[in-house]
Symmetry: C2
Subunit: 91 residues, 2 copies
């Protein structure tokens, strides 16, 4: 029981952990220092974890990675949006 | 067999995914846009996952999170190092 609570807290931390990055990005309108290669690898990794979690019928793995996947996608989209806006501003 | 290969690739992606962030940070000497709240939450989350993985005697969970933990620590340390250097430069 104690162990599954620990696993759940672990999953919550590594999932909601990406929300502060989205908030920071929206506030500063800068995500230049965040590596796009890291984001892409996390995207691929979380997609595979999601499929693996569904296969294992493990709701913690599936849900946590489903959410993380959407957060990482959001960061990647925001990053390219800010990049495009910067390019426009410099015209 | 196919599924455990998929799980392993997933774990490798979400673990080595942080290496490009370290490389980018070292190259640009800037990690300002990377959220310190995200890094701290990932640090706590990976530590709990590591303990949970050891408890479950699951080497994939334990190893992947052990490595991710050390990469996230490195990013956090580099970030505060670059921050301190910037503060010194502006004196």
């Amino acid at each position: 029981m104690l162990w599954s609570i620990m696993g759940t807290i672990a999953a919550i931390c590594t999932t909601v952990g990406f929300i502060p990055q989205i908030i920071r990005g929206i506030k500063t309108r800068e995500l230049r220092d965040v590596s796009p290669v890291m984001l892409t690898l996390l995207l691929v990794g979380c997609s595979l974890w999601l499929v693996y979690g569904v296969h294992l019928k493990n709701p913690i793995i599936a849900l946590a990675n489903g959410f993380t996947l959407s957060f990482v996608m959001a960061i990647l989209l925001l990053r390219s949006l800010f990049r495009r806006n910067r390019a426009k501003d410099s015209l």
